[in-house]
């Protein structure tokens, strides 16, 4: 197996002297799609933020989260922010749950997208403008020119999430972290965004860290799943194995719950 892109080793997160996340140990190889599933408050998002080195002040990380940059590794737990600024965007990209909150309300979409494009690809002027429109077209937004001129309150929720995805992809990251990227969207819009993520991941050969509380969605998006409960790692297994033969009682419960829902529906979600 090649060296992992992201290697979490006994990663823990503390708030003062309370432990919120305990000993998460998992790694993601280039091109691999890993899911993290768990209920609200199980520490999924904190784990992702720690991997990005973006825990806000009172929160503290333990253990290590080594990111492979191609020229070496950077530990997101200990590395200074200036070093991480060069890794984020270029090696790791991230899409968050609520697109309305994760885009600047006072900046036009095109402008917002032009910053990371200029930074990571060194573009200026016309080339930059074209790259912005290309990036918007790439995430299948209609009328890229109009979207580029819009503020985020002028476009729909699904369109916002596509813009957020375009932003995350601007630096051509090798690992995309998607933290509940469809939870805030209508079910019909969800499917489109998931399709887009899937396509971008396979076309670019990116690795994916997909965080969700929705087992069917995780099953569809990932090769391997990490189950979390109350800040602890419950089980890591291949997605197919996990669904067919869950080992831990909590995982069994999750799978059973989702089965029960499936049985109520005229046909499965996949």
């Amino acid at each position: 197996m090649t060296a992992p892109l992201l290697d979490l080793d006994a990663l823990g997160i503390d708030l003062d002297d309370r432990s919120l996340v305990e000993a998460v140990t998992v790694s993601i190889a280039p091109g691999e799609r890993l899911g993290i599933i768990g209920e609200s408050g199980s520490g999924k998002s904190l784990t992702a933020l720690a991997a990005l080195g973006l825990l806000a002040h009172p929160l503290r990380a333990r253990g290590s989260a080594r990111i492979s940059t191609g020229e070496g590794t950077v530990d997101a737990v200990t590395a200074p922010q200036r070093r991480l600024d060069r890794v984020r965007g270029a090696v790791l990209g991230a899409v968050f749950q609520e697109p309305l909150a994760s885009l600047d309300p006072l900046m036009r979409v095109g402008k917002q997208l032009s910053w990371p494009l200029a930074r990571h690809r060194g573009l200026r002027g016309d080339a930059l403008r074209r790259a912005v429109l290309d990036a918007l077209a790439d995430v299948q937004l209609p009328e890229p020119e109009r979207i580029a001129r819009s503020y985020i309150h002028e476009i729909s929720g699904g369109q916002r999430q596509r813009v957020a995805i375009a932003l995350a992809l601007a630096g051509s990251p090798r690992l995309l972290i998607a933290d509940e990227p469809t939870t805030a969207l209508d079910v019909t819009v969800q499917a489109g965004v998931l399709d887009l993520l899937q396509r971008e991941v396979s076309e670019r050969g990116m690795a994916l860290l997909f965080i969700s509380h929705d087992l069917p969605v995780v099953t569809r998006m990932t090769d391997r799943v990490l189950v979390m409960k109350d800040g602890r790692q419950v089980e890591v297994a291949d997605t197919a194995t996990l669904v067919s033969a869950p080992v831990d009682p909590y995982t069994q419960q999750l799978v059973a719950a989702s089965r029960a829902l499936d049985d109520l529906l005229p046909e499965g979600p996949r």
Binding site: F96, S102, P105
Partner: protein
């Protein structure tokens, strides 16, 4: 299309508030605009030189001296015009100082981490509790009475409130997801502050800064009244009030007019700020 939807939702309860806010805005703009125009005109033209002592002493308003003359025979109208210029200068100058110093200090407190933040915040508490005029007097005592001292003193005194407000707003903006998102795309601290924090902090500062302008005009008048403002022959409204005090029974207009202009300026800028706030109030716009 979304703006149309918002308009439809707001309409039923909008008319009265909308009318009130547009009246505020209009009255404020007219009052303040008038003073501003007078201030600009005074740069090129005043009926007499404000220092010229040629006319009779303590003349009532008339055809030649529109606002009368003071006890040294100087034309009051000309002095009032120059006073408007000084008021504008003090307002703009100290507002700019308050904005620059306040925003810088507030941003540092918001970004630098808990130790610096606690230290700066406690200092700001003290600075805000400290009376503006007393601080101004200290600075005037240190630098000597001049227009620059007054502007500096008033600006610094006002910067504490601006810093506090900037800190609170910046901390809130820094906690928003779009900042995290920008950081995940590799934007450094400087980029975050320049592109995301400042543009999102500015709107909350507009109104307090406008109010700062009004406060600065009053503070300067008070300093000048106490003889700590710009020294003669600069005709500050505050000094005119002080000079007119001894002759107020004989020539009441000399005391009334600077007072009226002061009130006009303050009411004007406050109404203007109020109107701008109503128009820019997110609560009345962002119905989604």
């Amino acid at each position: 299309m979304s703006t149309a939807a918002v308009a439809v939702v707001t309409e039923p309860r909008a008319p009265r508030r909308a009318r009130r806010r547009s009246i505020n805005l209009a009255v404020g703009a007219v009052l303040f605009g008038l003073i501003a125009v007078v201030a600009v005109v005074s740069l090129f033209w005043t009926p007499f030189s404000p220092e010229e002592t040629g006319g009779g002493r303590l003349l009532p308003p008339g055809a030649e001296h529109w606002a009368g003359t003071d006890r040294l025979g100087r034309d009051l109208f000309s002095q009032l015009m120059v006073g408007a210029r000084l008021a504008m200068l003090v307002g703009v100058g100290s507002m700019a100082i308050a904005a620059v110093v306040g925003v810088l200090v507030g941003l540092v407190a918001a970004i630098a981490g808990p130790l610096v933040d606690d230290a700066v915040s406690s200092l700001l508490d003290i600075a805000i509790a400290f009376p503006t005029l007393l601080l101004a007097m200290l600075i005037v005592a240190w630098r000597g009475a001049s227009l620059e001292s007054a502007i500096l003193a008033i600006g610094l005194a006002g910067s504490a409130v601006v810093a506090r407000l900037t800190r609170v707003t910046a901390v809130r903006v820094l906690g928003r997801d779009f900042v995290t998102a920008a950081r995940t795309s590799g934007t450094g601290v400087v980029g975050i502050v320049g592109r995301h924090v400042l543009p999102n902090v500015w709107p909350t500062l507009i109104v307090p800064l406008a109010l700062q302008f009004g406060g600065a005009v009053i503070a300067e008048a008070s300093l000048s009244y106490l003889g700590l403002g710009s020294p003669p022959p600069n005709a500050s409204w505050g000094r005119m009030l002080q000079e007119a005090q001894s002759t107020v029974t004989v020539a009441p207009t000399a005391a009334l007019l600077p007072g009226i202009l002061l009130v006009m300026t303050i009411i004007g800028i406050n109404l203007l700020a109020d109107g701008v706030r109503d128009v820019a109030d997110p609560a009345s716009r962002s119905i989604r």
